[in-house]
């Protein structure tokens, strides 16, 4: 072994120095060589049953599987030579023997490893002349996962995930040989709150999502790296959209937050984005009004109520930029009572966080206080209210105690000025997740071209209240302005936050 626990080996003629103790697949990945694999996953135990990662190790007689071969100093590995590619061709032919010609109706088509490797490593023909094996298809494993036994290649990734990561151990392999088939214990329905991760893990189309099934082919979709906003964990996700409608979320690798996984709750938390009832135009006095009209009405309402006091209630679903824009409006109006609403729920040790909103820490950072359990019976001249999603609402009696109301909401809300909200996939911004991590959300769609994001609306309102104020033109500039102002964000830039997020550099606790 060479120094610092590193070893040097040769892969396809390339010299590589990699940490000791990793396997050949990972070592090859580090030098940019992809060794095909189905059953191997970096976070799951190694079983070596798909046999497609076979590599030639010089000095060892037979071909060895890359997933279960640890690197040694001076090892010489061949992953592409004649012998290996002939073996891989054979393995692919075996895997495809009983595979149905289902690609036309299979949801995995386009992101299917079996398709990819059949093209990259397969021979293109089959010598199998007999009837293919028949197994049950379209089996419902509860209301989230659909199983197709014919497409399954028995890699057991799903079995290992539920056993080792989710800890519920619900799937096992029944029968033997050609008749082997996955079964769910008990009544055949999965119960784990992380069960939909097996859909992403499945390298073929055996496990598909009930929610996403047949909604769109993946090659039509646009994918945007963003975060999950169902709770304070802020799991990194890729949001899939088509024709400006949100279709699915899948986890994105981030070793500091969610690894490769996310909870089902977060994954299915997007229905309100596509809600047909969403408002797309502000209303002033119950009548539709363009933004300038609605904003000057809001200005009149808020300035008129300045003497009687204004209550400002933010939402913990807003981005930091929006919260700082709201803070600017509050400062311009001299608002004292600034609160935010935070829905709470159940949490667990893995990924589900008890705070059911993504940005409570950002609210605290912008100087908003936690909403009190018992609101005082104080009367206000006006209410400036950003309505959170359906999980929590401002008590009706508090709203009634305010004479005039300016409400930001997704769906129609009785008020003097009602301004449409946008959801997190429709804007750029940052949020502060659990562990005081600043993470970016990115725009992946436009619900309606006329909609303005809250940051722009609030900045315009601020300009109406204080003509000297000039808002930032983009979220990136707004973040930069915020970072210059606030010591907790000092030194952070949009690029340093990037895809994986960055920690706040400060001591004060926001949790």
């Amino acid at each position: 072994m060479s120094d610092n626990g590193h070893v040097t080996l040769t892969i396809d003629g390339k010299e590589a120095t990699v940490p000791a103790g990793i396997n050949v697949i990972e070592a090859a990945k580090q030098v940019g060589i992809e060794v095909p694999h189905y059953c191997y996953h970096p976070r799951l135990s190694v079983v070596g049953n798909c046999r497609v990662c076979l590599c030639e190790i010089e000095g060892v007689g037979q071909l060895q599987i890359g997933c279960n071969t640890l690197v040694r100093d001076g090892m010489v590995v061949n992953t592409t030579n004649e012998r290996v590619s002939r073996m891989r061709e054979g393995v692919m032919e075996f895997l495809l023997i009983n595979h149905p010609l289902d690609c036309t109706i299979c949801d995995q088509a386009g992101e299917c490893k079996l398709q990819d490797y059949a093209v990259d490593h397969g021979s293109g023909i089959t010598r199998f002349e007999f009837d293919k094996g028949k197994k049950p298809k379209n089996i419902s494993w509860g209301d989230r996962v659909v199983f197709d036994a014919e497409r399954c290649i028995l890699c057991t990734r799903c079995v290992r995930f539920l056993d080792e990561i989710a800890g519920t151990d619900e799937i096992s392999i029944d029968h033997r040989g050609e008749k082997s088939q996955l079964v769910v214990r008990g009544d055949g329905k999965l119960t784990s709150p992380y069960q939909m991760n097996i859909i992403d893990l499945c390298p073929v189309g055996a496990l598909t999502s009930r929610d996403f099934r047949f909604k769109s082919r993946v090659w039509f979709m646009k994918f945007t790296p963003t975060i999950d906003t169902s709770d304070a964990r802020g799991c990194n996700v890729v949001a899939g959209t088509r024709d400006n409608r949100m279709l699915r979320m899948v986890p994105r690798y981030n070793p500091n937050v969610n690894d490769y996984w996310m909870s089902d709750h977060g994954r299915l938390h997007y229905a309100f984005v596509n809600d047909e009832d969403r408002i797309v135009m502000p209303t002033a006095g119950g009548k539709p009004a363009p933004y300038p009209v609605a904003l000057s009405r809001a200005q009149a309402v808020l300035e008129g109520a300045r003497d009687e006091g204004i209550l400002c209630v933010a939402s913990s679903y807003m981005t930091n930029e929006e919260l700082f824009a709201l803070k600017g409006v509050c400062d311009a109006l001299g608002v004292e009572d600034r609160y935010f609403l935070l829905p709470m729920g159940e949490g667990d040790d893995l990924l589900i966080h008890p705070e059911k909103a993504p940005n409570a820490r950002g609210c605290r950072l912008a100087g908003f206080r936690d909403a009190p359990d018992d609101w005082s019976s104080q009367e206000f001249g006006a209410l400036l209210y950003v309505k959170p999603r359906e999980l929590i609402e401002l008590p009706a009696e508090v709203i009634e105690r305010c004479k005039k109301k300016v409400v930001f909401s997704l769906t129609k809300h009785a008020s003097d000025v009602n301004i449409p909200l946008t959801t997190w996939v429709e804007k750029d911004g940052t949020m502060v997740s659990a562990g005081d991590r600043v993470q970016c959300v990115r725009q992946g769609m436009v619900y309606e071209p006329t909609l303005l994001t809250e940051r722009v609306v609030l900045d315009r309102l601020h300009t109406l209240l204080d003509p000297a104020f000039k808002g930032a033109s983009t979220a990136v500039l707004a973040f930069q302005r915020m970072a210059d102002e606030h010591p907790a964000l000092d030194g952070l830039t949009w690029l340093s936050v990037g895809l994986l997020g960055a920690k706040l550099n400060k001591a004060e606790a926001l949790a």
């Binding site: 149905p100 690609c103 036309t104 109706i105 298809k137 379209n138 047949f214």
Partner: protein, 178 residues
């Protein structure tokens, strides 16, 4: 560049006065005139008729003619399209739009088009959809005369497409044996 001297042909007297060829050409023209006149009066004779009596008479297209795309059914009246959306993907002018939906759990096909629309104002009759279709469900049929008073009628929906396509026998009947 060098100069090459071309020797002019020596014309005879008859050639020099032109009259002979003029008379010869005129004769040919008059001959054609009377020949055509005869065919026009004799238009019912299929052998000699020059003009096709459209729309009573129509051209018989070859089998590989590329007319309007249409969906077909197999001999058991099952719509063959499984809504794989490859034609939608391959269509260069983006004329095809498909909204897939699910069968109930007892049907082995699982998937079929809920709505299938081809915008014939966009279609360029290239035949890529027919070529790409893995289920042999879409064909360019001989229908080539699309005339509508309303532009919306040019968007062919699923019913119209199946009506145009009719039935084509399937040798394999893949889904029946699933």
């Amino acid at each position: 560049m060098g100069t090459r001297i071309v020797k002019r042909p020596k014309l005879s007297f008859m050639e020099r006065i032109y009259l002979g060829p003029v008379v010869k050409g005129l004769g040919m023209t008059i001959g054609h005139f009377f020949g055509t006149l005869r065919d026009v009066f004799n238009w019912k004779n299929k052998k000699t008729a020059i003009t096709m009596q459209y729309p009573e008479e129509r051209w018989d297209f070859k089998d590989n003619f590329r007319g309007a795309p249409a969906l077909v059914m197999d001999q058991e009246q099952r719509g063959k399209c499984v809504a794989c959306q490859i034609c939608e993907f391959v269509c260069p002018p983006k004329a095809i739009t498909i909204w897939p939906t699910e069968f109930d759990e007892t049907n082995s096909v699982e998937k079929y088009p809920d709505r299938f629309e081809i915008d014939m104002l966009r279609c360029i009759y290239c035949g890529f959809c027919e070529e790409a279709c893995p289920e042999e469900a879409i064909f360019l049929v001989k229908e080539a005369e699309l005339v509508h008073a309303d532009k919306r009628d040019f968007i062919h929906d699923k019913e119209k497409l199946y009506e145009m396509g009719g039935i084509r026998n399937d040798r394999i009947m893949k889904w029946k044996n699933k």
